[in-house]
Amino acid sequence: MLRLLFYRVLGLAVILVLVSVISFSITYVVPGDVALVIAGPGASQASIEKIRSDLLLDEPFLVRYGTWLGSVMRGDLGASAITRQPVAEIVGFRLVNTMKLALAGIVLAIVLGIALGLVAALYRNSLVDYGAMLVSVLGISAPVFWVGLMLIYVFSVRLRWLPITDQGGVAHLILPAITIGMYSVAVIARVTRFNLLEVLGRDYIRTAKAKGASTARMSLKHALKNALIPVVTVIGLQFGYLMGGAVLTETVFAYPGIGRLFADVVFTRDFPVMQILMLLLAAIFAVTNFLVDISYALLDPRIRHA
């Protein structure tokens, strides 16, 4: 277990370093002069020179990367190329908002997804199963932004049950959470059903059945525990997906999070903010995958002792 932990931590460190190089390097692959791109059409020569010296554009790669990473490590995330506002100030509260949204989405996905998959597997090939699988195919196929708009139309415009935009409180989180979590509900339901059916076909389940364990008790106690191990991996991957889905969900609901911020800076070509956001999101993704790997090992003794 210790050895495994060591290699996983090493792997995480390597990924984080490479991710920081890539995030930093995006300014190199922009066609044309970055300073000109940021300054926009009709900018004065002086302001272009100012951007050039601020971003150290004339220095060699290693100097620029080193300086950038050094200040990021010290907590100095730089400033927006457009509004001059410190990046930490722009990102801070939005990150908290997105985390709230992603967390609500993933909790919903885990609860609903596992329940749906469990019911489908227990009543295999019945109408319940077909219904659950139909819902899950629609869930992985529906565009996030369309689901969001339709939910707004039905629940906010027609029924007037829920607020459309951010008013604070829990109510404003409900529709965005359903929107962002829907895809994950569908994926988790499919994986849960698939693995439960596989486990239910194994010998030890038949033994438990022969010993007189009732179907319900058996499926919950014996089967679910084993079937859930692959589900954990999927949940980890879904968290990364939620970070991407946040861009569209937050845009639809005008929710002040880093997803919408990301779309905005892509439009305005605000590279200093874009670099930090890429680094941040990839780091969250990498750390989640790391935690999933570790919990996977804790849940499955075969991996722990390998």
Binding site: P31, V247, V252, F262, A286
Partner: protein, 276 residues
């Protein structure tokens, strides 16, 4: 897995059959859009602005009075273009790199696989967003971005196929008998790996349409007045309270086509009995 057994298993799968039928309908719409469309998809008609669905316009009209059904029919072309070209890019590059990695192993393998891991280290929608952000908006750039995004999936699949085929004794025997490497690859490794690649292609095309229309929704994809489902939805968003049909129908079209591709992908995967 022989070809005939595969088709038999696939034909028995009712969900996959539904997928094929749906897919055929959408393909017909895309190919024959000019003949099927009741109106010119780009012609504004100010007497029809935000007109709800009626006999005059089955799916209603948008904020410029353009016929929504006609725009959806023509929009199918953009979606098929995105799906086909992104998967073609991803499959060709991915298969080639996967073959190299699996066949040569060692340093080549290590470099290719670490690069693939790195691309997978970023959430996929964000990768597409950043690439389009760098290249600038437009349908061609969306295709490039989403194409690059899916390369690692094909690399991994192809590499695994090569490794499993290479273990076969007849491949070792051929090498021992002096068969040249390209011959082994093209006559034995590639045909054996074709089926899982087709399943992956179907699944990936669905994702490509979702990501492509998502970028279109953000205004980064096809530029007006070209009919594209994601962009249509984003135009309709403003009129959600008074004319929900403008946003509703393009979304249904996206979902329908992606459902078709997912059902086909699932069916092919189950018929092959592989996990992707």
């Amino acid at each position: 897995m022989t070809g005939r057994r595969f088709w038999k298993a696939l034909r028995r799968n009712k969900a996959a059959l539904v997928g094929f039928v749906l897919f055929a309908i959408f393909l017909t719409c895309a190919v024959f859009a000019p003949a099927l469309a009741p109106a010119n998809p780009n012609r504004a008609n100010f007497s029809m602005v935000l007109h709800p669905p009626s006999a005059a316009a089955i799916l209603g009209a948008d904020e410029l009075g353009r016929d929504i059904l006609s725009r959806i029919l023509f929009g199918a072309r953009a979606s098929f273009l995105v799906a086909a070209s992104t998967t073609a890019i991803a499959a060709v590059i991915g298969v080639l790199l996967g073959l190299l990695a699996g066949y040569y192993g060692g340093l080549v393998d290590a470099i290719i696989m670490r690069a693939a891991d790195l691309l997978l280290a970023f959430p996929s929608f964000l990768v597409a967003l950043v690439i389009v952000g760098i290249l600038g908006p437009g349908l061609v750039n969306v295709i490039l971005a989403v194409g690059v995004l899916f390369v690692p999936r094909f690399v991994r699949l192809m590499r695994a196929s090569v490794l499993s085929v290479r273990e076969n004794e007849y491949v070792e025997a051929m090498a021992a008998l002096g068969s040249r490497t390209p011959r082994i690859i093209f006559h034995h490794v590639l045909p054996n790996a074709m089926a899982p690649i087709i399943a992956l292609t179907a699944i990936v095309s669905g994702e490509a349409i979702l990501i492509g229309s998502g970028l279109g929704f953000l205004g980064l994809g096809a530029q007006p007045p070209l009919a594209e489902w994601g962009a249509m939805l984003s135009e309709g968003r403003v009129y959600l309270t008074t004319a929900p049909h403008v946003a509703a129908f393009p979304g249904l079209a996206i979902m329908g086509l992606v459902v078709a591709l997912n059902l086909i992908g699932d069916g092919v995967r189950d018929a092959l009995d592989v996990r992707l």
